[in-house]
């Protein structure tokens, strides 16, 4: 019997496979495909203080081995999530969930974290400081170490839950941002968010995405994500959830060897709704082949 379990800041997961925020909603659609309780956990749809409709459509553009999205944080708002969605989720997901929160001000992050703090269903609060779709006020917490640290410290102050900061790859030095978050008290790092990209419709000569640009994700970004996780793992001493282009058990092993304690699977869920189940079933076989008894033994093996 292979041991797939990993520990994120005291939270023990049966396996390191976690669907990424924005690709799994609140789990309600995927539970029709398989029993989502086989997952390590899942990171729910990025939630903000107020309900948001998000960006104009089209919001999706296909790419070679990936896709661009410009959803713009569409969500029902933190109040509806706490009072309606979490109670519903309790009926079909029995494990602690990762609560992904977004915001346009420090106060908004704090408000969302405060409202989630008392929920026993929430295992980790994941703070999205890096959504590249929104251009409100021009302030981007993810690209400024001081701003990233400010959000981290403010959220830490209002919750006892482990706080993971989700980082943007669209920065000059991701290690500098990661270090700033660690120093400000972050319990872990989730990385990476999508890369800013675009496509143009050559018939209309206009960008396909209504908002012109969006976040590029999917298998194509795996090497970039892997490299960044490897760099950050060599810099910080807090756990990393590796995200970006993961689609197979092999990718999971590789990402963990780069220093990730767990992984999130994103865009692949949207083309193959069974991908996380497939990976969880495949992992023990690949571990057998690689003579790995305990999956957590390989964390950072390549460092």
């Amino acid at each position: 019997m292979k041991d797939l379990s990993v520990i994120l800041s005291g939270l023990k997961l049966d396996n390191p496979v976690i669907p990424a925020s924005g690709t799994f909603g609140y789990g309600a659609e995927f539970k029709n495909f398989y029993d989502i309780n086989i997952l390590g956990s899942f990171s729910f749809k990025g939630t903000t203080q107020e309900p948001r409709f998000g960006n104009p459509t089209p919001r999706i553009a296909e790419c070679e081995s990936g896709m661009i999205n410009s959803i713009g944080l569409q969500n029902p708002g933190i109040e509806a999530v706490v009072s309606e969605i979490l109670p519903k989720m309790a009926t079909y997901f029995k494990k602690p969930v990762i609560a992904n929160i977004g915001g346009f001000s420090v106060a908004e992050f704090v408000c969302c974290a405060e409202m989630l703090d008392s929920s026993p269903q929430v295992g980790i609060i994941e703070v999205n400081i890096s959504c590249p779709n929104l251009h409100k006020g021009g302030r981007n917490f993810a690209s400024d170490p001081l701003a990233a640290a400010e959000v981290t410290a403010a959220v830490k102050k209002v919750t006892d839950k482990p706080v993971y900061i989700k980082l943007s790859p669209n920065v000059t030095s991701i290690t500098e941002i990661a270090k700033a978050c660690e120093d400000a008290g972050a319990d872990g790092i989730s990385m990476i968010n999508t890369l800013v990209g675009m496509r143009i419709d050559i018939k209309t000569r206009k960008p396909i995405i209504a908002n012109k640009m969006g976040g590029f994700s999917g298998r194509a970004i795996f090497p970039v994500a892997l490299r960044m996780v490897y760099e950050v793992a060599g810099t910080v001493n807090i756990p990393i959830i590796g995200i970006g282009g993961i689609a197979t058990a092999r990718d999971v092993i590789e990402m963990m060897m780069a220093g990730a304690t767990a992984v999130q699977v994103g865009a692949e869920n949207l083309r193959n709704p069974y991908v996380c189940k497939d990976i969880i079933e495949e992992l023990p076989k690949l571990m057998e082949e690689l003579k790995i008894e305990k999956l957590s033994d390989i964390i950072g093996a390549a460092l």
């Binding site: 999706i60 553009a61 896709m67």
Partner: protein
């Protein structure tokens, strides 16, 4: 909704750039006409969402137009297996159609009207069909509709066959009252119908989407009853909820 591996039975050209794809496999996930399927095509990241034309136990028929590289690749497949998510979206509500509904299809929006028409005839309703195309070479399924024993009017923009003009022009030639209307086609067509018809309608919309099952929020739209996902809460919306 369900993932099913279908075998390709045939895949033939039936009009200019329009193919009829017959598949065999488990269709039990399909519950209403107007639903769609999402087809994985080798070499492409996202699936291709295409409306269901017709289905019965064990066989599925879809009609698609070659509009890009994905559908181009699909048109070249003669046999083999396809990974398809079936039973996506809500489809048309037959009860709301009433006894004498008007069914309107435009171009690539014609196929779901066939499955709907068939189900309505089975339910002993008396639908009237109006289908619009650009020109004669684009026309398909006239005979198939007529075989169902329903009046079928064709409109072409250039007048090369049937009534010259849009589906709305063809509807004007019908001096009759309808219980409701159902439509699928380009958005300007849907809007024109909504503007000219006073009866209740069920309209099928299209949007660029990723998952097709409601998770990614890529295809959201605003309606009078809040935001809806074209893939999950649609593609069929009621005429009174649409914000044009």
């Amino acid at each position: 909704m369900k993932q099913v591996f279908f075998e390709i039975a045939s895949n033939i050209l039936i009009a200019d750039k329009v193919y009829e794809l017959k598949l065999s496999g488990d269709t039990s996930g399909i519950t209403a006409p107007g639903q769609f399927v999402n087809i994985m095509i080798g070499g492409f990241f996202l699936r291709r969402p295409i409306s269901v034309c017709d289905w019965d136990d064990g066989s599925l028929k879809i009609i698609y137009k070659v509009v890009g590289e994905g559908t181009e690749a699909l048109s070249k497949m003669e046999n083999g297996r396809l990974d398809i998510l079936v039973g996506l979206g809500n489809g048309y509500n037959l009860t709301e159609c009433g006894k004498t509904p008007l069914l309107v299809g435009g171009g690539a929006g014609v196929p779901p009207m066939y499955g709907l028409c068939k189900k309505l005839v089975e339910a002993e309703a008396l639908p009237t069909v109006v289908i619009g195309f650009n020109k004669a070479v684009d026309v398909f399924y006239k005979a198939e509709f007529e075989e169902l024993g329903v009046q079928t009017i064709i409109a072409t923009a250039d007048g090369s066959i049937g009534v010259k003009g849009f589906v709305t022009d063809a509807i004007k030639t019908l001096d009759r009252e309808f219980s409701s209307y159902c439509a699928c086609g380009p958005e300007p067509m849907l809007k024109a119908l909504s503007d000219t018809l006073t009866i209740k309608g069920q309209l099928s919309f299209e949007e660029r989407m990723a998952c097709g099952f409601g998770a990614c929020m890529g295809c959201s739209c605003k309606t009078r009853y809040g935001s809806k996902r074209i893939c999950r809460d649609g593609p069929v919306l009621r005429s009174d909820e649409v914000i044009w």
